[in-house]
């Protein structure tokens, strides 16, 4: 009996002991992240502030070289928003890009958390300045698309009533944007590592966007804000002036007009280049450049004859003054032109070293023709080098001092305050690099250029616009320029390419020896093909009118005329197409949002 009892007791003790093991389990369920950090442990040091603002960086890379697609500079087969808007029944249901607010939330969250950092006021204000600069940048993009947008300067919660507020008027938004730029200009450090946001990066964007706002107000009656245009033009001029006076930048000019300009776009290392205000730095295998191989060749884009005709002659005269400029052969077109042309377009005799799917051929390049392409080929931004590590290490000049000079000249011209001295200090610096004569205040208007911009009568302003188009060609600025000048109609012009007076054989390399033969679509290609005096086989193309399926190339008149690129350019509705619709789903979610200028 006793034995049994003690046995039972043992068992109970054992059971109880096991139960006891399980007791303290409250802490067990308290698991916290170990490789993530909460806000309460962050925002303390300058290092914390620094690695947060680095996450806001969003500067463009080699994509800028695609940026003129579907404007009057570049024909495209690609999918570009402005092309879709002009050629389809675009609506708030189909045009839904651009309404992204993540960046703003990220910036505002930062601004709400900087007060606790244990840093000096200067340090704090530098980082606040950087964040406010990015906020201004963010809102400029919104402004460009929607004109009126809701302004937020705090990070919203999911129950905030402000989620459902109406758009603020453009004036309010612009005022806030420029307060941000001004704060940033006054507080961001001048000296920062290469690639980082500095006072001068802030200033260059400030200058660009003030000019944008000034000219936009001036040329867009639908806003009814013309009277306030000058105040922004003044800011543009003043900020540009400050950069010119204090920034220490200069136009990159080593006295080699045939190369200096192009060097900016194919450099392995732009740091130290006096013209570049901000570089997007690329290093092979650390951060590879996008390798924009497809902007050359026949993938989706090709520059237009309209852009080519905008370049001056070497002596400073207009191309339009040449006899029959519209009926000039490819080789002739490149003779005696502003050297920037041959640093932007593949010229006759240009040599191709990097070949890929869309850019066949090697060494001396014979322009390849294809339906939907103009026959001209872009080389600005194309890295003509077979080595992958070279291509992936090319830096992108995000901000060039050249643009600041052009901003200044344009703002002053719009204000009617431009002088020859100011021209010489700005725009003519660029002409010096190109080795062409200075623009004079006494210039006579080019009727072709005047035809483009009927709202402008000042011949100097017309030439400033030309200079801007040429200097900044294919760097992604054209669409914005056309928008702010109220010149969207220019995009309706059918993009065409090279001119051919008729069937027959032609030289494209400039050596006087024929390279290609244009046949009528019904003619047979000889077998074997003929060779030229260099022993190379001629390249045969069958030409015909648009829609003729047996043709390889369309010409405007069938057997003669300009090469036709994408024929359908659609209609640019003014003022509607200067703006973008707020996505329909967003208006549904927040009925207080109102669409602008005829979008629905």
């Amino acid at each position: 009996m006793n034995f049994i009892k003690s046995n039972l007791l043992n068992k109970i003790v054992l059971g109880a002991g096991l139960m006891a093991l399980t007791a303290c389990s409250d802490d067990l369920l308290e698991k916290l992240p170990e490789t993530e950090i909460g806000a309460e442990n962050f925002f303390n040091t300058e290092e914390d502030l620094s690695i947060y603002v680095l996450g806001m960086y969003n500067f463009p890379g080699s994509g800028i070289y695609y940026g003129d697609e579907a404007t009057d500079n570049t024909a495209t087969t690609g999918n570009r928003e402005i092309k879709t808007i002009m050629t389809t029944q675009a609506s708030a249901n189909s045009i839904t890009g651009g309404w992204n607010w993540e960046e703003l939330r990220n910036i505002n969250y930062f601004l709400e958390h900087t007060q606790d950092a244990e840093v000096t006021e200067d340090v704090r204000n530098h980082y606040i300045g950087v964040a406010r600069f990015f906020r201004a940048q963010f809102y400029m993009e919104k402004l460009r698309r929607y004109s009126d947008v809701p302004w937020y300067d705090s990070a919203l919660g999911n129950t905030s009533e402000d989620l459902y507020k109406a758009s603020d008027p453009r004036e309010t938004v612009v005022q806030k944007i420029f307060e941000d730029y001004q704060f940033a200009l006054e507080n961001v450090r001048e000296s920062v590592p290469e690639g980082a946001v500095s006072k001068w990066v802030v200033a260059a964007y400030y200058s660009r966007n003030a000019l944008h706002e000034g000219t936009f107000r001036k040329y867009h009656n639908e806003l009814g804000l013309q009277t306030s245009a000058d105040s922004y033009l003044n800011i543009a001029a003043d900020v540009s002036q400050q950069i010119m006076d204090q920034g220490g930048f200069s136009v990159y000019n080593t006295g080699r007009p045939e190369n200096d300009y192009h060097t900016l776009f194919e450099s392995q290392n732009l740091s130290g280049n006096p013209e570049v205000i901000l570089t997007n730095i690329f290093e092979d295998d650390i951060k590879n450049q996008g390798d924009p191989q497809y902007l050359f060749g026949s993938y989706e884009m090709s520059p237009t004859q309209d852009l080519l005709s905008a370049y001056l002659m070497t002596d400073g005269t207009y191309f339009s003054q040449q006899p029959e400029p519209a009926a000039m052969s490819f080789v002739e077109e490149f003779k005696n032109r502003d050297p920037r042309l041959s640093q932007t377009f593949a010229y006759p005799g240009w040599e191709l070293y990097y070949t890929s799917t869309y850019s066949p051929g090697n060494t001396t390049y014979v322009q390849e023709f294809k339906k939907s392409f103009t026959g001209y080929h872009q080389i600005k931004g194309f890295v003509n080098d077979a080595a992958q590590d070279v291509r992936s290490g090319v830096d992108v000049p995000v901000l060039r001092y050249a643009e600041v000079l052009l901003n200044y000249a344009e703002a002053k011209a719009e204000l009617g305050e431009l002088t020859q001295a100011a021209l010489d200090a700005t725009l003519n610096q660029l002409r010096d690099r190109a080795g062409i004569p200075h623009l004079s205040m006494a210039v006579q208007a080019d009727p072709v250029q005047a035809g483009r911009y009927p709202q402008v009568s000042d011949p100097v302003l017309l030439e400033i616009r030309r200079e801007r188009r040429v200097e900044m060609a294919l760097e992604g600025r054209r669409l914005d320029d056309l928008n702010r000048w109220g010149a969207g109609k220019l995009m309706e012009k059918e993009p065409v390419g090279m001119y051919f007076p008729g069937l027959g054989s032609y030289d494209l390399t400039g050596d006087g020896v024929d390279d290609i033969v244009l046949l009528n679509e019904s003619d047979a290609i000889p077998n074997p093909k003929e060779t030229n005096s260099l022993g190379q086989e001629l390249i045969y193309y069958k030409v015909g009118s648009v829609g003729n399926i047996s043709a390889n190339v369309y010409l405007t008149n069938g057997n003669s005329g300009n090469i036709v690129a994408t024929p359908e350019r659609g209609t640019f509705l003014e003022p509607k197409h200067y703006y973008r619709p707020i996505p329909a789903s967003e208006v549904q979610l927040n009925p207080n949002l109102e669409q602008v200028f005829g979008w629905d």
Partner: protein, 1077 residues
């Protein structure tokens, strides 16, 4: 079965006697019910008879002979014939069957006494046919247990799901191995031969005891125990040879391929397929005279190699025979008080890839020891160590393997790799480095069982520790490509990766079980216990580029910057659980289960939940009034259950708003910022458990002495308070809406399983057993905050898996038809031309324009045209044995499923001109015959294929690349052209797969006994031998089964999942052996 085999063995070697006398009698069961169809055999004579409907038999037998009475479901009886000429026999039901025990949570229960929906799966096939892992062996075996192998990669884990769609956040069944929660990869690392039993717990009541993680069913796996007695040694092995099941079939004629490529791209804005006249000429010659025309030559002007291949290159990389093998040896035995089971196993599963190693191996050791220390206390230990290792080339891109152009080539005449994508892939696979991923899992479990009151109250304590280490080693190295005879170049990068992880996992269970029968009619079982688990996983990864030497690819011997990352996560759960089971008179059963659970994954105030359930059943055949119907009806049982479980299958720290970190994108100074920080995701106050309520009703039936068994279950499962992004908020929020418990789902389904077993013949009976199971489920969203009924979000009333699309109206046959219907809004990239032969659609809303609507209320011209959810899943097993031979046939499949293809493997050049050449597309629209110019260029093969002739009555549209381009997105609001699902090309995704046939032969024991072998079975087996499906013309029908992300209408599915780009499943031919000593 064994008895029959022995019997047959005897019979086959016996001789016939003569001059016998009649013996007759009646055979009944224990309750005196006559048994018809009982086999009566005179042992050693070959004489046999059956009982008639009244149980009567008569047979010739001499005095002293032995009569054997056998009947399915009953124990055989042997009687010696005496002087009496009448011999009545009572057969007893096979108690093994009656007492069949099923493993349930923290215990076992007699199958007949189950009240929940529990299925025990036959594990016999896990060793008698060649399955390289357990989930392979389970596929198609149990109704409602859905297993899909999208990928056939060695060691790949399938998706396992119980009873269909669970939650919009996913939710997998809980897998327990010897009562320890385990993930599926661990399950697949177990040796199938070590498995004793598998139970599938499907409803809330059977799973409730596992609470927080068992909301979507439980898979209970129990490994084998030792058995007392002399040591018994088992050795199982097999060798397999395998080839891919289905590879996409390409036109290998280079001229046809090139001409189609050119034709498809030719009339688009991106006419980018350049072929020179010389290439056309060469292609034509290769086509007309493949053996007499060179495939590689030097370009006359550049001196570089150029190529004109003529084969489908996916076969070059994948289609050959690869070999795998499996070995498992186990020893078990013991004494009265102790027993042990020890096993070792090795499996090597080779993938389809040739040219380089691509395999998975697992090596496992297991030991299980139990000892009764005293009459009330026993202790046990169960320890296993498993090593899994995956080895494959670093570079291997299945998509490009399927997409190579047929005119590419692999090798140059000098033996170097060709300067083509094919040559590059081959060079990368052979010389570009390799990847090794190894896991070592050590798990040990100590358990104690103490009888506090003998046979009434026991306490069990179990403690398990698991430690797993993960080791990942990989490198990329440079490889060489031959451009010209003397121009061989190095390409590629040199980089080395090293990653290591360690996981620690502790599980502690303590529970007490009380079992007592009060009076003779009241059986009571009470169980209560405590469970706690803690998990922590840490993973660190480092990589460095510029390896100095390819032969020593280590971090130390590299010169680039060292980059690293680390992740840690952890969780814990605790729970108190109970089960109360009451059985009255062996026929009325009531069971209550429940659990009070806590999980670290929720905020403190929402951390605990209580989840109860109830089930009941009635065994009608135990009622007195049913006794007369036996054995015609052996079993009739009704079951019903109701219960609620919680689902805590969400991120470890989802309720904590941490700052997000990433790597910097801009070089500042000279380097990228290693880390940048950004604002945290939004977290809602409303964040707690999802709950899952299941109602289940079931019937179990047994007929004709359990020859026929049937089980039917019908259920409804409501998944409530699913965590999802709350109501769509304006975009100005600038963040994903926080997760809240805001959506509900219901799933209705049923399951049926049928089995029939019997034998034919008497002298050498053919025993057979057929099992069939079928299940179906459909799920609907019952609540979701989508006030506009947007089609790009879940919405109330939506059935999961529905496919929205356009209704085909054939192809445009005239310009007038084109002019009458505005289809511009669906033109891919806004750039293709609508011409004759373009797909034409039914204008459902009658506005003369084809448009895709964005809401269910105004869908414009789209409607629901199908559903991608697999339905009517079935499995069919037929096992037979005769005269030492055995035969198993296993079919498995899906009865209904729709599939709309959206990628190259179906659309070829319609997608983009970079891959294609699929013969099924040759019936495309051609407005006119080719011009004489073109006819002169064509190869004879092209003309013979009819491709040069007009074809206006075509199945496929006019040849336009980008017409089926998926790259604008597959989501309904993004898709254009043929990427929008439409009725004409919606495929029937149902399939039947001949999963396995096995033929075995067991050597007569009389032969083997002499050499000390108890039994020896040899078999030949074939896996995945045949598939019947419309999909199987393009790729393996299981390759599209990974539909998880496509079910969310808001997701943009990525290319890999449902496009058929999967590592091929394999047809396997195996030879195997099972030996016992």
């Amino acid at each position: 079965m064994k008895h029959y085999l022995l019997l047959i063995l005897f019979l086959s070697i016996s001789s016939f006697g003569f001059a016998q006398n009649q013996v007759s009698g009646t055979v009944t069961d224990a309750s005196a019910v006559p048994l018809p169809g009982v086999t009566v055999m005179a042992e050693g004579t070959g004489n046999g008879a059956y009982t008639d409907f009244d149980g009567h038999y008569s047979i010739n037998a001499e005095e002293g002979e032995t009569l054997v009475f056998s009947y399915v479901g009953f124990l055989p009886e042997s009687r010696t014939v005496g002087a009496a000429r009448t011999l009545d026999v009572i057969l007893n039901e096979d108690s093994q069957q009656l007492d069949e025990v099923v493993v349930v949570g923290f215990g076992t229960v007699k199958k007949v006494n189950l009240s929940g929906a529990v299925n025990s799966v036959s594990t016999e096939q896990l060793s008698t046919r060649p399955v390289s892992n357990i989930s392979q062996g389970l596929q198609g075996m149990s109704p409602g247990l859905n297993i899909d192998f999208a990928s056939g990669a060695p060691g790949a884990s399938p998706r396992i799901n119980i009873r269909g769609f669970t939650s919009i956040n996913g939710g997998d069944p809980l897998i327990l191995i010897d009562n320890i929660p385990s993930d599926i990869s661990y399950l697949n690392q177990l040796a199938p031969e070590d498995i004793e039993s598998i139970s599938v717990l499907k409803d809330a009541s059977s799973a409730a005891i596992y609470g927080a993680r068992a909301a979507f069913g439980v898979l209970l796996v129990t490994t084998k125990d030792g058995a007392s007695g002399k040591p018994r040694i088992n050795y199982n092995t097999y060798f397999t040879a395998a080839t891919p099941t289905v590879l996409p079939e390409k036109i290998s004629d280079p001229y046809i391929y090139m001409r189609l490529q050119k034709t498809f791209s030719g009339k688009t804005p991106w006419d980018n397929q350049f072929f020179t006249d010389e290439q056309w000429q060469w292609a034509r010659e290769r086509s007309d005279n493949p053996s007499g025309t060179e495939a590689v030559r030097q370009n006359s002007s550049t001196g570089m190699w150029e190529y004109m291949g003529n084969r489908d290159w996916s076969e070059y990389f994948l289609s050959s025979t690869t070999h795998s093998q499996n070995h498992n040896v186990s020893v078990s035995g013991g004494t009265d008080r102790t027993n042990y089971f020890i096993s070792g196993s090795y499996n090597k599963d080779n993938g389809a890839l040739i040219l380089a190693d691509d395999y998975y191996t697992r090596t496992g050791l297991r030991s299980k020891i139990n000892a009764e220390l005293t009459d009330w206390l026993s202790l046990g230990n169960n320890t296993s160590f498993i090593n899994g290792k995956r080895k494959n080339p670093s570079y291997f891109d299945l998509m490009s393997v399927y997409n190579f152009n047929v005119y590419d080539y692999a090798e140059n005449p000098d033996g170097s790799w060709a300067n083509t994508p094919v040559g590059r892939m081959a060079a990368r696979i052979t010389d570009g480095g390799e990847e090794n991923y190894a896991t070592n899992t050590f798990r040990t479990n100590f358990n104690a069982q103490a009888w506090l009151l003998k046979d009434i109250l026991k306490v069990n304590a179990q403690y398990t520790h698991e430690y797993e280490s993960q080791n990942y080693d990989s490198f990329y190295s440079q490889y060489r490509i031959g451009f010209a005879p003397d121009d061989i170049r190095e390409e590629g990068e040199n980089r080395v990766w090293k990653a290591f992880g360690q996981e620690n996992y502790d599980v502690f269970n303590l529970f007490a079980t009380f079992t007592k029968t009060f009076g003779s009619d009241h059986d009571v079982t009470l169980l209560g216990g405590y469970n706690q688990e803690e998990y922590r996983d840490e993973y660190t990864s480092v990589n460095r580029r510029d390896v100095i030497s390819n032969s020593l690819p280590t971090l130390e011997l590299a010169t680039g910057e060292m980059l690293g990352s680390q992740s840690i996560y952890s969780w814990a759960v605790t729970g108190l659980f109970y089960r109360a089971n009451y059985i009255y008179k062996d026929r009325y059963i009531l069971e209550l289960n429940g659990r009070y659970d806590g999980s670290s994954r929720f905020p403190e105030d929402a951390r605990y939940g209580f989840f109860p359930s109830v089930s009941t059943s009635w065994i009608v055949t135990q009622e007195d009034f049913m006794q007369d119907l036996k054995p015609a009806i052996n079993l009739l049982k009704f079951r019903a259950s109701y219960g609620t479980l919680g689902n805590q299958d969400v991120g470890s720290f989802g309720y904590i708003p941490s700052l997000r970190s990433g790597s910097g994108g801009n070089i500042i100074g000279e380097s990228l910022p290693p880390t940048v920080i950004s604002s945290p995701a939004l977290v809602s106050d409303n964040y707690t458990w999802e709950t899952v309520t299941t109602r289940n009703f079931g019937v179990d039936l047994g007929f004709l002495g359990n020859r026929i068994n049937a089980t039917f279950d019908i259920y409804r499962r409501d998944t409530q308070d699913m965590l999802t992004q709350s109501r769509e908020l304006p975009g100005v929020l600038g963040a994903q809406e926080p997760l809240e418990n805001a959506a509900d789902l219901k799933t209705n389904g049923w399951e049926l399983s049928l089995s029939y077993r019997n034998y034919i013949g008497t002298k050498k009976p053919l025993n057979f057993e057929a099992r069939f199971n079928l299940s179906d489920s459909r799920s609907y969203i019952t609540s979701f905050d989508n006030p506009n009924n947007s089609l790009t979000q879940y919405r109330e009333g939506m059935e999961l898996g529905e496919i929205w699309g356009l209704t085909s109206d054939g192809l445009f046959q005239s310009q007038a038809e084109i002019d009458a219907l505005d289809q511009t809004s669906i033109i891919p990239w806004g750039a293709l031309e609508i011409v004759e032969g373009w797909p034409k659609y039914v204008d459902r809303d009658g506005n003369q324009a084809i448009e895709v609507g964005t809401t269910a209320d105004d869908p414009k011209d789209i409607s629901v045209i199908g559903n991608m959810m697999p339905r009517y899943r079935f499995g069919f097993n037929l096992n037979m044995d005769w005269n030492n031979f055995d035969l198993g046939i296993f079919l498995q499949g899906v009865g209904k499923r729709d599939y709309y293809p959206q990628d190259y493997l179906y659309w070829g050049f319609y997608q983009q001109p970079y891959a294609g050449g699929y013969g099924h597309l040759n019936d495309f629209y051609r407005a006119t015959d080719d011009s004489q110019d073109l006819m002169n260029m064509h190869s004879q093969s092209y003309i013979d294929a009819g491709l040069a002739q007009a074809n206006t009555d075509a199945r496929f549209p006019v040849a336009q690349s980008w017409l089926a381009d998926r790259n604008l997105g597959e989501r309904i609001d993004q898709a254009k052209g043929l990427a929008i699902p439409q009725t004409a090309y919606l495929l029937n995704g149902s399939y039947v797969r001949l999963k396995n046939i096995t033929i075995g032969y067991s050597l007569p024991t009389t032969w083997t006994r002499n050499i000390g072998i108890k039994s020896l079975r040899l078999y030949l087996s074939g896996d995945n031998l045949l598939e019947l499906s419309e999909i199987a013309d393009f790729f393996d029908p299981e390759a599209i089964s990974d539909i998880g992300s496509s079910l969310n209408p808001g997701a943009s599915p990525s290319r890999g999942q449902t496009s058929g780009y999967q590592y091929p499943n394999q047809r396997k031919y195996a030879f195997g052996m099972n030996i016992s000593f």
